[in-house]
Symmetry: C2
DNA sequence: CTTATAAGTCACTGGCCGGTGACATTTTGT
DNA sequence: ACAAAATGTCACCGGCCAGTGACTTATAAG
């Protein structure tokens, strides 16, 4: 039952559409994201978005499930989880937060979605939010269980710092300087990274693996 | 030469339009901001936007110059600037940052503009950015001159923290929880405020004036 | 009172949008 | 080989948008 070379292939077309979402998102941002633009980018008729995905929201959902938008636990905990566990709470938290920063810096499309999330909710941002929520619960359970019963509010500080660099990542797309920070240079981001450690009272930021 | 009660008054109409911008912004956010919406809200024909302001960008500019979107130096430095000057650098910075947080929390329209700014540039966000840039230079010159030559990068940490709560303010418009922080309760914001001080190694956050 | 000009109204264009129905063509099952 | 179903194309709708030209009406100057 060898299949012909298909000129019409539902799965292939679905894939084209999903990939087109990524391309439109990268090129025009979420502002330009619509059935017409996506269909055009996919080289496919927009009616198929309705037929195969029942509308744009579900297509976005599919797109969200297709990529690795959020770093894995391994990527953020580093190669040696056990060594990490032995550090004091502050150091552990700082390293994880800094690693998260590095991981997100590598994901321009995730940053685009984060920007979107800042202004409106939708299927895509909702999916990402769920993943992230679960992710942070996992991190706490696995390497920061003691953070829940400390005197100082380590988790609040960590969240505030994560919020801070997420915002700076978003702004870096179209802003050169923010409060004296150069958002489009590696040097500026080194400063930001150092400030993270400073907030946790650690002077010399350990290097992240390369 | 006592003027009649005017039924046609250019200045009055300009004012109506400018105020309408604020109303639309507050009600529908920047997504719903357009010549049609603004004109409708002002109860005035949209063609006047072109006649009196030469288009929406200039109208936004006028709106930007009309309100106090950014807190004054006085509002953030507190009533007793001299007392503030005598504190150590960390404490000074922490207090200013925390006061800025309080000041912005009271300005929903500024938060709306900040959200806008995160995703796209335009006349309005540009104007606000200029004001803010100047503002932070003034703060540094007036009460944080020593921050420029410290070992630890106090300004980077301050900027990161400001970025953090700005992002949380933006998110608080349509998100209840972020990283375990309750963004729509005073208690959640107290936690965030405390985390600010914690980042500067100050355990008990001084109360802001009431 | 007359008239020029400013203020404001109205109707329209052209473009893009999301969404749908009717149609043509390929693939699949029998 | 044939019919049914799946795949894809096309033309169209109504709605909202930004922007413009032609119009009416109030105001002010003489």
């Amino acid at each position: 039952m060898a299949k012909h070379v298909q000129t019409r292939d539902r799965e292939q077309t679905r894939k084209l559409l999903i990939e087109a979402v990524g391309r439109v998102l990268a090129q025009d941002g979420f502002a330009g994201l619509g059935v017409n633009a996506v269909a055009r980018a996919a080289g496919v008729d927009k009616v198929l978005i309705y037929r195969y995905f029942d509308g744009l929201p579900n297509l976005l959902q599919a797109y969200g499930e297709s990529g690795d938008f959020w770093p894995s636990l391994e990527e953020v905990l580093g190669p040696d989880e056990n060594a990490l566990r032995k550090l004091p709470l502050d150091a552990r938290t700082a390293i994880i937060v800094a690693n998260l920063l590095d991981a997100l810096r590598k994901r321009p499309q995730t940053i685009e979605i984060l920007a979107w999330e800042a202004v409106q909710q939708n299927a895509l941002t909702g999916a990402l939010a769920d993943v992230r929520e679960q992710w942070s619960r996992n991190v706490i359970a696995r390497v920061l269980p003691d953070s829940l019963k400390t005197e100082t509010d380590v988790l609040a500080l960590a969240s505030l710092l994560v919020a801070g660099f997420q915002y700076l990542l978003i702004r870096s797309r179209n802003t050169k300087l923010y409060g004296g920070l150069a958002l489009q240079t590696d040097d500026g981001w080194r400063r930001i990274r150092n400030a993270l450690f400073q907030a946790f009272r650690l002077s010399p930021p350990p290097r992240s693996r390369h």
